[in-house]
């Protein structure tokens, strides 16, 4: 089976004045998270879409799904974890307990605040996860990357051609991911900021999938304002 895990664990502390987590803010006529969920729900390759959300927003999310998408047994809302990896583990545990995991099971993990993901990117993720076991969605870095350890002076300027900006989805063969997570030492677990890093730490290949410049993460008020302005332009 193929599962989508929409990761909405964070509370969006960078979003500014508002108290509403950014995934619940309105983009066009619907909350950001609804737009994101719809992308996965309409994809016939995906069997179940699991939305991982902070506990106090579970009912709210369910209500929004009911209002905008309607009753849909393929959408499941469960509690996320403390960190991104805890959230990921929660989704894997849920899949294991409710559907079972076999050699073909795939999970497509995606930020709830990236509603601009395309159908093509999702399908390319599924193909790459099937073929290679793990993939990450990236676009070539356009700005020069500067490394500074002390935050004051430049340590090095890496060759830009070798650098990419990571987006999501990140997709995995679940069995492979599960085994790798279980083989991590505590020290390794503590430095994990990214699911793909689990694979690279263990010298496992992660295939690159072409992202899109439009596949932005709604992080700052500016992002949402810009997106809404472009949408309003269309309505004129």
């Amino acid at each position: 089976m193929i599962f989508a895990a929409i990761l909405a664990g964070g509370i969006g502390s960078r979003m500014g004045e508002t108290d509403t987590p950014k995934q619940f803010l309105t983009l066009g006529t619907k909350p950001v998270i609804i737009h994101t969920i719809e992308k996965f729900v309409i994809n016939e390759n995906i069997d179940k879409t699991i939305v991982l959300i902070p506990k106090n927003f579970i009912n709210h999310t369910k209500n929004l799904i009911n209002e905008h998408i309607g009753d849909n047994e393929d959408i499941i809302v469960i509690e996320g974890g403390e960190t991104r990896n805890d959230t990921l583990m929660n989704s894997i545990k849920y899949i294991d307990e409710n559907f079972g995991i076999d050699d073909e099971s795939i999970i497509i993990t995606h930020d709830s605040v990236r509603p601009f993901v395309t159908h093509r990117i999702i399908n390319d993720n599924i193909d790459a996860a099937r073929k290679y076991g793990a993939c990450d969605t990236v676009i070539p870095a356009t700005d020069t990357i500067v490394e500074s350890i002390n935050g004051e002076t430049i340590e090095s300027i890496p060759v830009r051609d070798y650098y990419y900006q990571g987006q999501t989805p990140q997709s995995f063969n679940i069995k492979k991911l599960f085994n790798l997570i279980n083989s991590l030492t505590e020290a390794e677990t503590n430095i994990l900021t990214d699911a793909c890093k689990i694979f690279t730490l263990k010298d496992e290949d992660v295939h690159l999938v072409d992202g899109e410049v439009t596949n932005i993460k709604i992080t700052y008020p500016y992002d949402l304002k810009l997106a809404n302005t472009i949408l309003e332009d269309n309505h004129d």
């Binding site: 983009l27 737009h35 159908h119 072409d210 997106a227």
Partner: protein, 338 residues
Amino acid sequence: MINIVYRLKSPKFFEEAIEEIELDGVIVRPTYLSICQADQRYYQGSRPGEVLEKKLPMALTHEGIGQVVYDKTGEFNTGDHVVMIPNTPMGEDVCRANYSYKSKFRGSGFDGFTSDLVKLDSTRVVKIPDDFNPHVAAFIELMSVAYQGIDKFSNLAITPKDILGVWGDGNLGFITALFLKEKFPDSKVIVFGKHLENLNLFSFADEIYQIHNVPDDLVIDHAFECVGSSASQSAIDQIIDLINPQGTINLFGVSEYPVPINTRMLLEKGLTIQGNSRSEREDFVGVVKTLKQNPHLFEYLEKLVTNICEITNLSDLKEAFDKDHISHFGKTVLKWNK
């Protein structure tokens, strides 16, 4: 849901844009698209400035097929291969919907097919068999224009249809001549063109002539003008010279300029001129049925596919338009992987 659309912002410049779509129609993922002269005129900026200013930014292409991703109406199955109909009626009218002022047309009045997904009303989608050659199926829309013109001609012509003349050795001339031969197998189909290397591809036609080398005693019963641009004038002149009284002249060629017509001879011969543009659902259904029943047509139509360009980014799209622009014959098909 948010959809990503790839629009022509200004001549030779594409950009990404976002739109919000409701999941209440048929959602199609484009697979193969095809470039039309009309798209090329926007891309090259050869439409009048005020037209460009009014219509851009806009996603180009109105010829294409795709696969159904989602259909709330339940009329289609996910994965069905379909041809998308660009003409979109916005209300009832007394005329055919492809001539109605109330209709909108993709890649002209609103966004064409270069997008991640396309949302269409279920009446704007026609299922095609899985085994149709996608490179040919990509330009079913162009075939449907020829089809509707021929269909209207069948009802209009009152004199014999023994000799049918097609002017133009380009894509539409090829398709029109081919479909005429299929529909009227006992008629003689003669093709008139400028380029001998193009005319030689019309092997199904009964006769081919270069326009400057037509026998003096040649006559035709009805004519199909598929030339367009300023060259329409000389084509229509020649048609009026060669056509028998009370014949029909079926115009298909688009011109940016007004074309003078020899009305004196038009009156004297009692000729009928019929204009043709775009097409409607019944024409798409007709083309799909014709291709299904006559699979040998694919062999001829494949000759029109001169460029197949895979599109994974906007530079690929630009390159495909540039390549199409310098091709003097045939269709540029876009394998849509963007």
